[in-house]
């Protein structure tokens, strides 16, 4: 069908998205953006699974993708609950408020 190199390029794309998600988590102080960036990292992993499954012509990649999506949904549910509490406590979504625990 197409060039074998394409699969490599899909993985490179996944790596780019993964790195961008990581930058998002590192740069943003807004917890909502951190969570979205985490979703991007998960999405990048999902893309890698799809690519791998496609490369081998197996359904396993898509099954794993389903599991990744499930994890994303479950994580976001709890995370948004915590976000609401964070906002209620500090009137802000800044995670840098959280620095009591240290030493």
């Amino acid at each position: 069908m197409v060039d074998v190199a394409l699969i490599d390029h899909v993985f490179i794309l996944a790596a780019i998205l993964f790195c961008l998600g990581l930058v998002g988590v590192l740069v943003r102080r807004n917890i909502i953006f951190m969570l979205i960036s985490m979703e991007i990292m998960l999405n990048a992993a999902g893309l890698a699974f799809i690519a791998a499954g496609s490369a081998w012509g197996q359904p396993d990649g898509q099954v794993m993708f389903l599991a990744v999506v499930t994890l994303g949904a479950a994580e976001v549910a709890v995370a948004l609950g915590l976000t609401l509490l964070l906002f209620r406590r500090y009137q802000s979504v800044d995670v840098d408020n959280l620095k009591e625990l240290r030493g």
């Binding site: 590192l26 995670v95 009591e100």
Partner: protein
């Protein structure tokens, strides 16, 4: 009878368990019965074992008892096995025999203390651990005992926990010995790595088979083991904890910090003597450590005013003699001196405890004085102890020290210079011992004294006094366990010097501290030196006098050393550790995004390593 060997550590441990379970709620009578009785029974079992032991021909004098295989980790199968030979038996005599007397004494001495049961809980555990250390047939079990006695020592130094100063002393002892223990652990580890066995006897025979004489590995391991011994036995440069350890109750000082635990280092070196024999350098180092320690702490003892601290320094100094004996290959003399020292030093400590109790916890010798009449029994026993410490014939100390000095003279790792040091040490020992003796018991009485009488106080003192007096005639069954040193023939002059110098020392002390003061007074009262006479009148002035004339350089050295240089070692370790902790704590700054960044960076490193070096 030998089958009963396990009872020797077992009984004190059982005592510990009973006392621990009682949680201090048992009546004091029962506590005494359990605490003292368990050690007494252990001593009795030791005696019965010894009877059988002496009945067998010396060549076959070993006995091994495996209680159960402790664990099996691959090829390593350390068992709960006891190994008895002449060396272990000699140690058992000291630990259980002297230990029993001290326990008996303590049951009187500590009776009024509200933590009376806790005291016996700790000391019973201590005796069990110490016996375990001595009887261990493998290095793991030995390490168990080694750690166990350290733990008990720590708990007992801090026994009177309400005074934070005692906690500090306990911690200091703990940290300093820890430095030695780490060296010891590394040494054991290397020994195991090189020889592949944890059994002590197997390791020793493997050592001779594996290593040539003076091999580097043997030297390294010997030196590391020496490090452990030095820490436990308070030798240079790790000696500073012992004087501070006197913060514990006096029976503890007698039991742990004079008679038994501090001699564990001597035992360790004797137990692994095969290893040390392989290395002339290590032996030389042991001898040097011994002679330097005995001189340094002897001079320090001269300047002390606290009764227990004088005894503590003298303990360090006497253990120095034992190390010196080990260093020159006089193995059995070292163990012999260990035993006689246990007798007279336990005697001195217990008597000191009686004195201190009588004068209401006053420990400054210059505030005692003239106690001869008020305290007749302690006076007599203290005298015996002092004679033993000074090694005047025919006390026990004389025989053991004489053996050591003769061995030093003729040994290749000894020599005349070290011998001279050791004899000088004996001379100083005589001075500080009798300085203490004369100041405490003669002169004007400074404080009132009430003697504590009774069975529990007097019997241990008298028995120990007898032992200190005649202990030199004992024959320890060491010939099969330790190589025979052989009879050293030394020139008559040498022997005479060694015997005479302590006597000169006693005479000097007599002149300085007993006789000379009134004589000086008469001399100076008539002349223009009257003002000076008043100055010399006080004991302090005498202190000042010999301080200036006699020992100034050495004392300066000793002071400088004990206050700064060596104290720095634990301080540096603990400060370094604290700094390490603070630096690391900075990394734990609580910032979530910083945590993510660290994690990402670390992941990056791991991934790069996996890809580019794989």
């Amino acid at each position: 009878m030998l089958d009963w060997l396990w009872l020797v550590p077992g009984l004190p441990f059982l005592g510990f368990l009973i006392l621990f379970a009682g949680q201090g709620k048992m009546p004091k009578r029962w506590t005494t019965l359990v605490g003292v009785g368990s050690v007494g029974l252990a001593a009795l079992v030791t005696l019965l074992i010894a009877v059988e032991f002496y009945g067998t021909p010396e060549a076959a004098l070993t006995y091994r008892q495996t209680l159960w295989t402790w664990m099996e980790a691959g090829s390593l199968k350390p068992g709960f096995s006891l190994y008895l030979d002449g060396l272990a038996l000699s140690m058992l005599f000291v630990i259980t025999g002297v230990g029993f007397l001290i326990h008996l004494y303590a049951s009187g001495y500590m009776y009024e203390d509200e933590d009376f049961p806790r005291f016996f809980t700790y000391t019973n555990l201590f005796v069990a651990a110490m016996v375990m250390l001595v009887l261990a047939d493998n290095l793991v079990l030995l390490f168990l005992g080694w750690e166990g006695v350290g733990l008990c020592s720590y708990l007992l130094i801090g026994f009177w926990y309400r005074d934070p100063e005692n906690g500090r002393c306990a911690r200091k002892a703990f940290i300093v010995t820890r430095i030695g223990d780490t060296a010891f652990a590394i040494g054991l580890f290397l020994l195991f790595r090189e020889l592949g066995t944890l059994d002590i006897q197997d390791a020793m025979s493997a050592a001779t088979a594996t290593w040539p004489r003076d091999s580097g590995t043997a030297t390294l391991i010997a030196v590391l083991l020496l490090g452990g011994a030095v820490g436990k036995s308070a030798q240079l440069p790790l000696q500073t904890w012992l004087p501070d350890a006197m913060a514990g109750p006096t029976p503890v000082s007698a039991l742990i910090h004079a008679a038994t635990m501090v001699t564990a280092g001597v035992y360790l070196i004797a137990r692994t003597h095969v290893l040390f024999q392989l290395s002339t350098d290590a032996m030389q180092l042991v001898a040097l450590v011994g002679v330097l320690t005995l001189l340094m702490s002897g001079f320090t003892a001269l300047t002390q005013t606290d009764l227990k601290r004088i005894l503590a320094y003298s303990t360090i100094s006497q253990i120095g003699y034992m190390f010196l004996a080990l260093g020159v290959g006089a193995w059995s003399s070292a163990i012999f001196h260990l035993m006689t020292h246990a007798f007279f030093k336990a005697l001195l400590f217990l008597t000191a405890g009686s004195i201190i109790l009588s004068v209401h916890h006053q420990q400054d010798i210059f505030k005692m004085g003239g106690l001869r009449k008020a305290l007749p029994v302690p006076f007599a026993t203290f005298l015996v102890g002092c004679l033993g410490l000074t090694a005047l014939p025919p006390t026990s100390g004389f025989f053991s020290k004489e053996q050591i000095l003769n061995a030093v003279w003729s040994s290749p790792t000894g020599g005349q210079l070290i011998w001279a040091g050791a004899v000088l040490g004996a001379f100083i020992t005589a001075i500080y011992t009798f300085r203490m003796f004369f100041i405490v018991f003669f002169g004007e009485q400074q404080t009132e004294a009430h003697e504590h009488k009774g069975f529990k106080f007097h019997v241990p003192l008298i028995v120990l006094a007898v032992l200190a007096a005649v202990g030199g005639f004992f024959h320890l069954p060491l010939t099969s366990a330790l190589p025979h040193a052989g009879h050293d023939h030394v020139p008559l002059g040498v022997e005479v010097t060694a015997i005479a110098l302590p006597m000169v020392g006693v005479l000097l002390a007599y002149l300085l501290f007993y006789r000379q003061i009134p004589a000086l007074r008469q001399l100076f009262e008539t002349g223009p030196l009257k003002s000076l006479a008043a100055f010399f009148y006080s004991g302090w002035a005498m202190d000042w006098l010999y301080d200036r004339l006699l020992v100034k350089p050495f004392v300066a050295l000793a002071r400088w050393n004990s206050k700064d240089l060596v104290d720095q070692l634990p301080a540096v370790v603990s400060r370094g550790a604290a700094l390490f902790h603070r630096l690391l704590s900075l990394s734990q700054n609580g910032q979530l995004r910083y945590y993510v960044a660290t994690m990402a960076l670390a992941s990056l490193v791991v991934m790069a390593v996996a890809v580019y070096t794989g």
